[in-house]
């Protein structure tokens, strides 16, 4: 349904997106995930035909967004980052205008407007001036505008931003419902949103695709590491060298990373003030539980072992790590 090849968008000498390729099947709900400035909105603006790519192609159901712009645009509903509303119009007038722009035939228009208003929970405010509505309601008006002509493809740029928790749940329900008979591409910063809404996710950062997988696949990939938190007291026999713990644990088979942490919120207060307390994070691969070996090894090296705990890595942590890692590897390649 959507086919993107080597898509690049340059602003001056900077690349907002750089060689994106992906495709979306009919009926899929795809999540676009990435930090600020990753290029999510840029990609969506290109797909919607609002801006042209610098190089590369994007096709909606076979229609190139540049060459067959009108045919491609006829297939989409688009909610931009800022809802594109006319502040002085009433909600109904505005949705009517949007429906006319999308060539909803005039016999069907009234029904289409009612449908969109109802689905976005706007019936109560339908005759109000949009400029007088709250931000969340304007966001809903923006969403109603995108679905009023019942397009096969929906492009939603951060659809739940600015909504209160109750509205977020309602809008997510709406998107899930729409997802049953629409192809949807949505962007977000919120991992859990992707988890509940999307069948597949593309992680994008600095204009490049970092990962592209189903939610469960991504979660597995992200969580294929174990992290152990260790608190030790350095005693005379352990050697005063700061790195002696790293040296003794780092040699263990299966340990990938030994990292000194300053302190964290879980560290007991009384330990914080003690000078020879050290907090370490030890990372290893998923397969092997390293805890007993770490314990043995640290005691053998003369440390007093105060705590040893496996950390549950949240999807969020894992996601941040994924992006950090990729950035680091990029630097080393450069």
């Amino acid at each position: 349904m959507i086919e993107v090849k080597e898509l690049t968008k340059r602003y001056g000498r900077r690349y907002a997106i750089d060689g994106l390729s992906f495709s979306i099947q009919r009926g899929e709900v795809l999540g676009f995930l990435g930090p600020n400035g990753a290029g999510k909105s840029t990609t969506m603006k290109i797909l919607s035909g609002f801006i042209y790519p610098s190089t590369g192609t994007a096709k909606i159901d076979g229609f190139d967004v540049r060459e067959d712009a009108l045919a491609a645009k006829a297939l989409i509903g688009y909610l931009p980052e800022q809802p594109p509303v006319y502040m002085q119009m009433t909600v109904t007038d505005y949705i009517d205008f949007a429906a006319g722009l999308r060539h909803v035939p005039s016999q069907a228009r009234k029904e289409a407007i009612q449908y969109a208003l109802k689905r976005c929970g706007l019936l109560d405010v339908q005759s109000r001036i949009i400029g007088n509505l709250s931000k969340g309601y304007r966001q809903r008006v923006g969403l109603a505008q995108a679905i009023v002509h019942n397009p096969p493809v929906l492009i939603l740029d951060e659809p739940t931003v600015g909504l209160d928790p109750k509205q977020i749940i309602e809008i997510r329900d709406l998107i899930r419902e729409l997802g049953q008979d629409h192809t949807i591409i949505l962007s977000t910063h919120i991992l859990s949103e992707v988890q509940v809404l999307c069948s597949r996710v593309i992680v994008i950062d600095s204009g490049k695709i970092r990962a592209q997988d189903t939610i469960s696949g991504l979660a597995a990939k992200l969580k294929n590491r174990r992290q152990v938190r260790v608190i030790v007291r350095v005693t005379g026999s352990a050697g005063s060298n700061d790195d002696s713990f790293r040296d003794s644990i780092g040699v263990l088979q299966g340990v990938d990373l030994v990292e000194r942490q300053e302190s964290d919120e879980m560290l007991p207060k009384d330990l914080l003030t003690e000078a020879n307390i050290q907090l370490w994070h030890v990372e290893s691969s998923k397969e092997k539980d390293m805890r007993s070996e770490i314990a043995k090894s640290s005691i053998a090296s003369g440390f007093e072992l105060l705590e040893l705990r496996e950390l549950e890595m949240s999807l969020e942590d894992a996601f941040v790590k994924l992006i950090d890692q990729d950035e680091a590897s990029e630097v080393s390649h450069a």
Binding site: K45, S48, G49, F50, I51, Y52, L70, A71, K73, A74, I76, Y78, P80, Q82, P83, P84, V85, Y86, M87, Q88, M89, F97, A98, G100, L101, R102, H103, Q145
Partner: protein, 256 residues
């Protein structure tokens, strides 16, 4: 062309959602009304002195009222139209509604034409207000109706050209003040360009006079509808609309 009309309809209504349409129409009609009454008074004075002295050309309504009145309408439009056109695209950019228009299956040319039509409808409405003066003349005097008709055709063409130029500038910048100033500057230049003709060589004299908005208006004010003049204004309209279209489409707002 239906898309253009649909866009024009919204745009036209939005003029009335803010004070701008009311202010512009009120200012215009007040100025024209004031000028009209002064011209009437001036004409009466001229007729009386002609009756006393019986010399010189006989003062006519057509020469002493209609021609100067439409000359004045032209001047007032020159000042007012930049304020009508400056918001056309600038506001869509500021409010992010450009994304609604440009992602709908509507060609950018339709959008530009729609904007043009909306502004033109507003200005036509203003000009329609001046028929109060014209009807007064028609009923109360033996005014030359051909000249009057020529004046209306002329002023409608001039207004279209002004609007097209304003449309172009509003597509070029998102700053309304800049758009208005650039429009006013270009229009004023097209007025004054014939001044250069006085001390120009034969070829340039011809070129400068042909470029002047005011030279082409003169024959309409005498009741002559010359295809040459009509074409001049239509070319300006075409250039303005096309210029707005290419700026708007090539830029693709936010692409720059």
């Amino acid at each position: 062309m239906l898309d253009a009309l649909w866009i024009a309809r919204r745009e036209f209504r939005s003029y009335f959602a803010s004070p701008i349409a009311y202010i512009v129409i009120a200012v215009f009609l007040f100025l024209i009304g004031y000028m009209f009454f002064n011209l009437l008074g001036y004409f009466q004075g001229q007729v009386q002195s002609f009756m006393r002295m019986s010399q010189g050309p006989k003062p006519t309504v057509t020469n002493l009222i209609v021609s100067p009145l439409f000359g004045n309408i032209n001047v007032v439009l020159l000042f007012i139209i930049p304020f009508i056109t400056m918001r056309l695209f600038a506001e869509e950019r500021k409010e992010h509604t450009a994304e609604l228009l440009l992602t709908a299956p509507v060609s950018p040319l339709q959008i530009v034409v729609g904007k043009f039509l909306a502004a033109y409808a507003l200005v036509s409405l203003m000009i329609l207000g001046t028929t109060a003066c014209s009807l007064t003349l028609i009923f109360a005097s033996n005014v030359d109706k051909g000249v009057l008709l020529g004046c209306y055709v002329g002023i409608l063409l001039v207004a279209a050209a002004y609007i097209a130029i304003g449309l172009f500038w509003s597509a070029c910048t998102e700053n309304q003040i800049v758009a208005a100033a650039a429009t006013f500057g270009s229009l004023l230049f097209l007025w004054l360009v014939a001044w250069g003709a006085h001390h120009a060589g034969y070829f340039w004299k011809e070129v400068l006079e042909q470029a002047s908005i005011i030279v082409h208006f003169n024959s309409f004010a005498r009741g002559i509808i010359d295809t040459n003049d009509v074409i001049y204004y239509l070319v300006l309209v075409g250039l303005g609309v096309f210029g707005a279209y290419t700026t708007f489409d090539a830029n693709q707002w936010g692409n720059s």
